[in-house]
Symmetry: C2
Subunit: 224 residues, 2 copies
Amino acid sequence: MISNATRSLSVTDHLRESILSGGLPAGTKLQEVRLSEELGVSRTPIRAALQSLAAAGLLDYVPNRGYVVREFPMSELVDAYEIRGSLEGLAARFAAERGLDDTQRTVIEQSLAAGHDLVTRSTTMNDHILRIVGQTNAAFHDTIMEASLNRLLSQMAQMSFQIPRVSNRNIIAFSLDELRQRHSEHYLIYEALLARSATKAETLMRNHVASVKFAAVRALRETR
Amino acid sequence: MISNATRSLSVTDHLRESILSGGLPAGTKLQEVRLSEELGVSRTPIRAALQSLAAAGLLDYVPNRGYVVREFPMSELVDAYEIRGSLEGLAARFAAERGLDDTQRTVIEQSLAAGHDLVTRSTTMNDHILRIVGQTNAAFHDTIMEASLNRLLSQMAQMSFQIPRVSNRNIIAFSLDELRQRHSEHYLIYEALLARSATKAETLMRNHVASVKFAAVRALRETR
DNA sequence: TCAATTAATTTTGTATACATTTTAAAATTG
DNA sequence: CAATTTTAAAATGTATACAAAATTAATTGA
């Protein structure tokens, strides 16, 4: 189990991971004594974790009845990308308005450099590439979200990812050509941010996420 | 204290209300024993409430250090209306795509009728009007959010309101003229929903919330 | 005097016992 | 036998005792 400052946090991470990975499918009832025996802790940290995951929207809770892994209809998974597009678009706008600090610029430039390397050197698409791309892509998007200086927005963006089957941020393209396209979009967004062109940054980011949506939804439909 | 199925939920509601109303200002440390004595319950429901409010973004939590009412900079309060505009715009789009059921149409039509009454009969702006307007306005927006059939979106919209000083949904206009404008916007949005014009509904809703933002931000700046 | 260390206190984290509610099973009744 | 009621079991909610960490106060030593 993930090691953390408190057992409650460890249990929370563990259960979240189980839900997002599909190990605990929708409809699964999470019972306190059962979990406490399985995970070797008392009911107290279990309850804390369940409450936290319910607040995060992953569990349904009915007083005196307990917690159930909630259902995520396919429509909501697809919607999640629309929502993410709006939120990340806003983040890009705010980041452009407020500017990037040195660290943020560095992180983004490293992410772009890594992306450039991958895109120019690769000859065929494979899982390894997708994994690396997922990392650099996440760094790019997370940094812009951070630069928006808005915790509410960051929290919402976080939520739009913590959904089963959507939480895999690796799939943003299928072919190398698509990947090159995504990379050039990143580059244009970064330019807009540096130029402090708020509206442009927002539009570019929104369209970028819409492009990612194509690949992600295709992956969603294929895996089931 | 608010009566609920469990003490935990009552405490949660009570503390949330205290934070949103400003009774517990930013930076206030919420200590378990102190609260349990004040509210006459054990630490258990107190802890449950604190965890829940932290997950909702109202409290900052540091393991082994406890919970503190988080700071909401003015910029985030203003941003909240931008976020709300995007989210409600999406909700309007989804609602138009998916259609309204009979109950939802009825609720919205009643809200529009009440709004029409108020707008045509009133001669001067006052608190009573604002209160009624707040209610009918909330019914209108909540119903569209519900019709979006997206729980994640609803949850996020909920979050964009549960912010101190933003949580007062009554102020959407200052003059009667502005109020008439808001009302006509509602009417146009409803028309777009009935016509299943998704893009139109989204744009109208986004602009509508932007208009509300003017009044709300003016109120924000005035009250401090 | 003051910095560092130690000790005491306070606060949060966890386990557990008990209370209450829900759910399942058993018994009763028509 | 089916439907209802009663009873038993199991699950969640709450209180409390203890453990561990953090904070504060006291002590020590240069």
